[in-house]
């Protein structure tokens, strides 16, 4: 009965449009009350769930991303990417992807990436004869790259959801190759679609122009180097690097570029607060929900159930992936990481999957979910910046879904893709 109350209340509230955070919180509340236990636990879990030092990276990275967009750092990175690969087939599509590689390395948020790069690229692409659906498709799916490249706050959430014992530095390093493989697969897909539709080529602006743009984008690139190099060289920890990203972004904007006034700064701060509160409230309420899952022994039962289904790691991983893809098409990423990690990580580890590799699988899988209907934050952001109805975008997006799922399968079945790079640091 308690299962029905927990999941029934959750689904009911979800369907009537209650914010996801409160769906999680209220269904936990109802279940605890039904069990006759003191409901105070729900609020203790909520409070403890957001009082974790490592979570601080989320507001910092979101804040840094906002500063970069409002302070013109993001636009300069796009301009650099445009000069570098604009002369390839479907050039601006490739630029869009490359920009995600560069910007994703800083923002670590797919929604931030889609809004920042989409806002710049989609109008440019339409202007130069690309179809709007193509521009939005690429913007949406390529923003998953941001989730894979360091710093990815979703990998931090995963590390915490996994009990805080999975090295964040390892997860960050592990995401690099899969992120680049994803970028490559998407570039191939973009090229194929562009060839079929006969999109124009951009002239190569010459090394001189690339050099000038490189110079103009250098402070942005330095930010990437600072975050990653800072963690790896031992100046600061992963959580601290996010704070340094903010401090550096402020420094670049106020002293190097001088592109921001106080009003813009105030807006960047309040936007960051809004996004952070939205994301972390979900995480806090999911902590209460997750506590009940553990208390009712649901993860243990699921592990036993899957063990009965098959003893082949290949089949189990496929099952997990399919289940996650389905869940991901309905729900948003951070609550799903918090909810599913305690359930699936023990299963995966039971079948000798490294927790670091599993983190990359999880984030890539749920990242694809961000781009799919019915609930896909990144898809909605893409539609908003491209001013297009969801259905028109989704109709032609499948080559990019295929590229994403192809990468997912590679990452799932070739552990070395994720584990080789971190092993170099051990």
């Amino acid at each position: 009965m308690e299962y029905w109350i927990l999941f029934g209340t959750f689904v009911f509230l979800l369907l009537i449009g209650t914010p996801i955070a409160f769906c999680l919180g209220v269904s936990s509340f109802a279940t605890i009350a039904y069990l006759g236990l003191p409901p105070v636990v729900v609020f203790q879990r909520l409070n403890s769930g957001v009082s974790i030092f490592a979570l601080m990276a989320i507001p910092f990275f979101i804040f840094a991303g906002n500063l970069m967009v409002r302070g013109d750092i993001a636009r300069r990175l796009v301009a650099l990417a445009g000069a570098a690969v604009g002369h390839f087939r479907g050039g601006l599509g490739q630029v869009n992807i490359l920009a995600s590689v560069l910007f994703g390395g800083i923002s670590g948020s797919a929604a931030a990436d889609a809004s920042a790069i989409g806002g710049l690229m989609v109008p440019q692409m339409k202007e130069r004869g690309y179809d709007a659906d193509y521009a939005v498709n690429i913007t949406v799916v390529s923003s998953i790259i941001a989730l894979m490249l360091p710093p990815s706050h979703n990998l931090i959430i995963y590390s915490i959801a996994g009990g805080g014992r999975i090295s964040i530095a390892d997860l960050f390093t592990a995401g690099i190759i899969p992120g680049l493989v994803l970028a490559l697969s998407l570039m191939v897909a973009a090229w194929l679609v562009a060839r079929k539709r006969g999109y124009p080529l951009e002239p190569f602006p010459g090394m001189r122009a690339v050099g000038t743009l490189l110079l103009s984008a250098t402070p942005g690139l330095v930010l990437v180097a600072i975050i990653f190099g800072g963690v790896r060289s031992g100046v600061f920890t992963a959580s601290e690097s996010s704070c340094i990203a903010v401090v550096y972004a402020m420094f670049a904007i106020f002293f190097l570029y001088r592109t921001m006034d106080f009003e813009q700064f105030r807006l960047a701060v309040s936007d960051a607060v809004r996004t952070t509160a939205m994301v972390l409230m979900v995480i806090g309420c999911a902590a209460a929900f997750g506590w009940l899952l553990a208390f009712l022994r649901i993860p243990t039962q699921l592990v036993e159930f899957m063990r009965d289904l098959s003893d082949s790691p290949i089949v189990i991983l496929l099952l997990i992936n399919v289940l996650l893809l389905i869940l991901g098409s309905f729900m948003d990423m951070s609550p799903l990481i918090v909810i599913t990690t305690p359930i699936f990580l023990p299963v995966a580890m039971e079948f000798n999957v490294d927790p670091v590799q599993f983190g990359i699988i999880l984030v890539l899988n749920l990242g694809i979910g961000l781009c799919t209907p019915p609930v896909g934050t990144v898809l909605f952001v893409g539609c908003a910046v491209g001013k297009m109805p969801v259905w028109d975008v989704v109709r032609t997006i499948w080559p990019f879904y295929i590229a994403g799922i192809f990468t997912l399968m590679l990452v799932t079945y070739i552990p070395a893709l994720s584990l080789w790079l971190p092993s170099l640091f051990h």
Partner: protein, 305 residues
């Protein structure tokens, strides 16, 4: 899972860890003593939360048992500060003598005022310093080095009093922080030094045994009051009887970790003169041993042979 009522117990350590196994063993004893009426189910790996949170949950009566370190109690129950002081115990044997005797009983009784019933003390070995730089043989060697400590007043004050630099940091970041030089080292017991892999990046271990802090098994007062006097006695007995079993498991685990670490070629310093370390703790004792009650406890512990 044969008992009619399965009581819930929380533990932050993973399945198979000596504390987890000891509570399972305690549950088995309880089942025998109550003819299958009561049993214990251990929620390991911090499934129900970190120690600070599960202590509150135990007080609220959501969890029945909890196996916790004494550290998180320091800011709640005054008496628990004393066994958590650096160099208060001369050796593990000394700690056993104190906690198994009247002093231990007095400390267990102090839990009652906080909606908890103190049942037994378990072992957690001795914590010592390890680092990536050099063998530490005297206090001079510690000067200016950065050591990760838990978010605890005693730990911070102790490391500072030794002339080193206390750096609170989440446990999960310690490995890469030592590796990259954010910090020079940390401090812990043999099993944690080994299982965390920290010995790979910090190959100098100095057995100064600065902290020999026992762990404690508590029951929720709310759950306790629901039991008959007979069952309460059974719980107390089962808890006490699990202690020798736990100490055996702990000793085995410690020996295995020690062997593994030594095999990896870690440099281990055993022959250090602890006297200057102990003397340096004066300001720490002055700060934490505030009342006459606590002063009396310290004296009684030091007088125990």
């Amino acid at each position: 899972n044969a008992a009619e009522t399965m009581l819930r117990s929380s533990d932050t350590h993973p399945d198979g860890y000596p504390t987890v196994e000891a509570v399972k063993y305690m549950g088995k004893l309880l089942e025998e003593k109550t003819d299958g009426r009561l049993g214990v189910e251990v929620f390991h790996s911090a499934q129900l939360g970190e120690e600070k949170d599960t202590i509150e949950q135990t007080q609220f009566g959501v969890i029945d048992f909890n196996r916790v370190s004494l550290g998180p109690f320091n800011n709640i129950i005054e008496e628990t500060k004393i066994p958590s002081l650096p160099y208060i115990f001369r050796s593990i044997d000394h700690m056993h003598k104190v906690m198994d005797g009247l002093i231990g009983e007095d400390i267990l009784k102090a839990f009652e005022a906080h909606d908890l019933v103190g049942l037994a003390f378990y072992d957690a070995g001795a914590r010592s310093f390890y680092n990536s730089e050099k063998p530490i043989k005297s206090m001079d060697d510690l000067k200016g080095m950065k050591f990760r400590v838990m978010q605890s007043d005693v730990f911070v004050k102790m490391v500072d009093a030794l002339g080193a630099n206390a750096t609170p940091m989440p446990y999960g970041e310690v490995y890469s922080s030592i590796q990259t030089g954010v910090i020079d080292g940390a401090e812990n017991n043999w099993p944690s030094f080994e299982s965390s892999g920290h010995f790979e990046v910090a190959p100098y271990y100095t057995l100064d045994q600065h902290l020999i802090v026992p762990e404690v098994l508590v029951m929720s007062k709310k759950s306790w009051d629901k039991l008959s006097a007979e069952d309460q006695a059974a719980v107390r007995e089962a808890a006490k009887e699990s202690v020798p079993h736990m100490r055996k498991l702990w000793a085995d685990r410690e020996a295995a970790s020690e062997a593994k670490v030594k095999k990896a070629g870690v440099n281990i310093v055993t022959d250090i003169d602890k006297t200057p370390f102990i003397e340096a703790m004066k300001p720490v004792y002055e700060e934490f041993v505030t009342s006459d009650k606590l002063k009396d406890l310290v004296e009684r512990i030091q007088a125990t042979e």
